[in-house]
Symmetry: C2
Amino acid sequence: MMKTGLQRVARLVHNNALPRNLQILPGLQQASACGSSTDSLVARFCPKKSDLKDYALPNATWCPDMLSLYQEFLEKSKSGSWIKLPSFKSNREHIQGLKLPSGLVAASDKQDWRIFTRCIQLEGQGFEYVIFFHPFEKKSVCLFQPGPYLEGPPGFAHGGSLVAMMDETFSKTAYLAGEGLFTLSLNIRFKNLIPVGSLAVLDIQVEKIEDQKLYMSCIAQSRDKQTVYAKSSGVFLQLQLEEESSQEQ
Amino acid sequence: MMKTGLQRVARLVHNNALPRNLQILPGLQQASACGSSTDSLVARFCPKKSDLKDYALPNATWCPDMLSLYQEFLEKSKSGSWIKLPSFKSNREHIQGLKLPSGLVAASDKQDWRIFTRCIQLEGQGFEYVIFFHPFEKKSVCLFQPGPYLEGPPGFAHGGSLVAMMDETFSKTAYLAGEGLFTLSLNIRFKNLIPVGSLAVLDIQVEKIEDQKLYMSCIAQSRDKQTVYAKSSGVFLQLQLEEESSQEQ
């Protein structure tokens, strides 16, 4: 169990009074925004070769809007501006070789762990999504198609499923843009319901990085931008993941 | 698809300028807090007999904390102060015989629809939870045990899963306390991570009902209240569900 609260960690970061073994990033300078830090994070996050299944690939259940927008971003990614993020079954696979900050002890690997947004493996029934990340502009786009297992009001996606998708996209963006690791807060204003089976496009932007915190915004809307589904903001705490080998020395 | 945004509906309610066929509650008076309205809603929501499976019942995966607190609340429910809410596979089953307000057309019943928080049917792997509601004090308690399919950071529940659980408990409480139907906004501050497989107790309170909106708060913490996981607030819009038969006349 985590003994130290996230807010307390944030205060400790601010006061330069960190608990033993807790690695905290130095204040992130503007200059490092597009530097090696993000590059190396992206390189680690997007392995050229992997035996792990990538769930962020088209399948027969994707609606035509989702499929064609995916192809558009894939085309853009050839120029290197956008990067398609792989999506594995568990965050454990995303951070292989790294360990959580001291005080956070992960339970054993014995169970069938799944990242929440990949909890349903039946194609089209749960979260269908793919995230594209733009390292230089520190922004992301998530193409999200909620399935019938994410229902709230009959025929529409549960508000909680949209928030989960926002939190997950915030989280991956925060990590790659500046090692943002933990959600400190989320504010969401809902505008319209998302019909199950249709596409919602989430545009995420890092607004600023200050005092070891990343401030981010999100707008979720239809592809033609005529219907806004929700707007949100999120604050993430920066914490460096340690190399496992360096701990064992 | 919903043509009218939730915020616009809220403004229309406020201005008494409602679209055709949209049934809106009259301003809820203090006096109606414990009156027939909540009573009849609860009676409809908690049928004495039902063939539907209730997922809010103990199973072998519940941790001892969850099981014993469930028994405590079940004991209290005998005096009538607390009511254990059943939890069916889909919201369609919760609102049988009722229809959504005009403009919200639910898709067909042909698919395997599931309410998001019951999306995983494998015991212990997803959302294990039960909600108790206190009609007179307009509050709820949700006992929530996240399974390994709700993972975020390795070994801990995804922030989005906790928000989904909060939204769902807010939602049921808002409906029973004053026909709150749609989430307008959510604000969440995360304090500590919830270890997968352990109990989080969500205490939900209706703070006020004003201008057809319900204002609610939630604190999620460990059973001994020594660890706060998150605090949140939510605003819900009141909208009356129509009887299907009255529409068909």
